[in-house]
Amino acid sequence: MRKIAVIYGGNAHQHRTFYETKYRRYCQELIYLPELHRMSLDDYDVVLIPSQLHQRLLMESQSKLIDFVQRGGVLAGLGAQPTHLLPGHGWEFRPTNFWWWLDRDASSGLVANKPDHDLFNYITLEDATWHYHGVFHPPAGVDCIINVEGGGTILYVDQLTTSGTLILTTLDPEYHYGSYFMPATERFLNGFLPWLAGGKLHYHR
């Protein structure tokens, strides 16, 4: 099992999600964001950055996080990433359509780009389907796992941009689960965290 540290902002939805027993067991440590600047990340294999963290405090530890991934660590980021905290994501804001599922012939527009990726042994495409706040345009050659019809990806694994692994998704499951909203987000976390802890991150064709 990889040792996962979660950056924890002290807010209600992160408290509910990461102190939930079935998820807490995958998290070796919850690092309180205001203390991140003086904490060592050396003991961890994975650092998980949830959405909805205090952006200024997070940016103050940017070099620490980049050093961690450049030493071969795995950095996983959840939720919208409008800042330049992590390199290479090519974020593009898209107005959120919360209501696509009410339309006739409803389609989320999400596509399993690599249906044989190990992540899909842990979640289904439906488990990753609620809404998204934007898309990524990462460098060519990275493993885009869930794409959006018409361009962009919402979940990818990048082992090219740094010496380590960047796993970025525009999805914010910990926010919705922690806010008691949207059942798919629970199914996503039920699979995503075990995959992060023990699954194959690298894609073998």
Partner: protein, 219 residues
């Protein structure tokens, strides 16, 4: 308005704590900007003097671990006859008189139906259906409650009477409004009757603050 700009003129009535995250800055801060609002980074509470302001506004994205460390400052602020509006799910006891959030077990979308109790100026003209439903979907407004302190005035409830919004005038020498959903001050959308809430809440704070100050002068 920034903290620095406010020093030059009359202090804004409201201090809205910016939780610093993407959703909070957008939903709680940008939506309520105005001459009567000062947006303050949460972590500046450590040494910022709140005294010139009437009402502290805190949303559900806030770092509650930090507010728990600052709970005495919050109590002292209220005991000076001030006001506090909290919208969110409480998981640490930093808010005077308040109990921790209790999520509602959901069996059907009807479990989310909101009722307005009596008539209160904050919700005058607001259709309870507009609180419950957004494009026919319920569950956005509140998904649980905070058990109320004694003598609280309950404004909104869920179907089993769970109080999702209440006013507490007795736990401190000021007034608290506690709501278990999104920032109430941010309801300003004119296309819906819920858009009345933001302005009416501000007007209620003005009147409530005037009454608190009048009461203190006679004590």
């Amino acid at each position: 308005m920034t903290a620095e700009a406010s020093l030059a003129g009359k202090a804004p009535r409201f201090v809205v704590l910016d939780s610093g995250c993407y959703f909070s800055s957008r939903e709680s801060c940008e939506k309520v900007l105005g001459d009567d609002v000062l947006v303050l980074d949460t972590y500046r509470l450590t040494n910022y003097d709140l005294n010139p302001h009437a009402c502290l506004v805190i949303d559900g994205f806030v770092d509650q671990q930090f507010l728990y460390e600052k709970r005495e400052r919050i109590q002292q602020f209220l005991d000076r006859g001030k006001m506090l509006i909290f919208s969110g799910n409480l998981f640490l006891p930093w808010l005077p008189g308040a109990s921790l959030f209790v999520p509602k077990p959901i069996h059907s979308h009807l479990d989310y139906v909101v009722s307005i109790q009596g008539s209160h100026p904050i919700f005058a003209g607001v259709d309870a259906n507009d609180l419950t439903y957004n494009k026919g979907v319920s569950g956005f407004f509140a998904r649980g409650h905070h058990p109320v302190p004694s003598r609280a005035e309950v404004l909104l409830t869920l179907p089993n009477g769970e109080p999702i919004t209440y006013i507490d005038r007795h736990s401190t020498r000021g007034t608290l409004l506690v709501h278990s959903g999104n920032n109430l001050l941010g309801y300003n959308d004119p296309s819906n009757t819920t858009g009345l809430i933001g302005k009416q809440l501000k007007a209620w704070v003005e009147e409530e603050y005037r009454l608190i100050q009048a009461r203190r002068e006679t004590q």
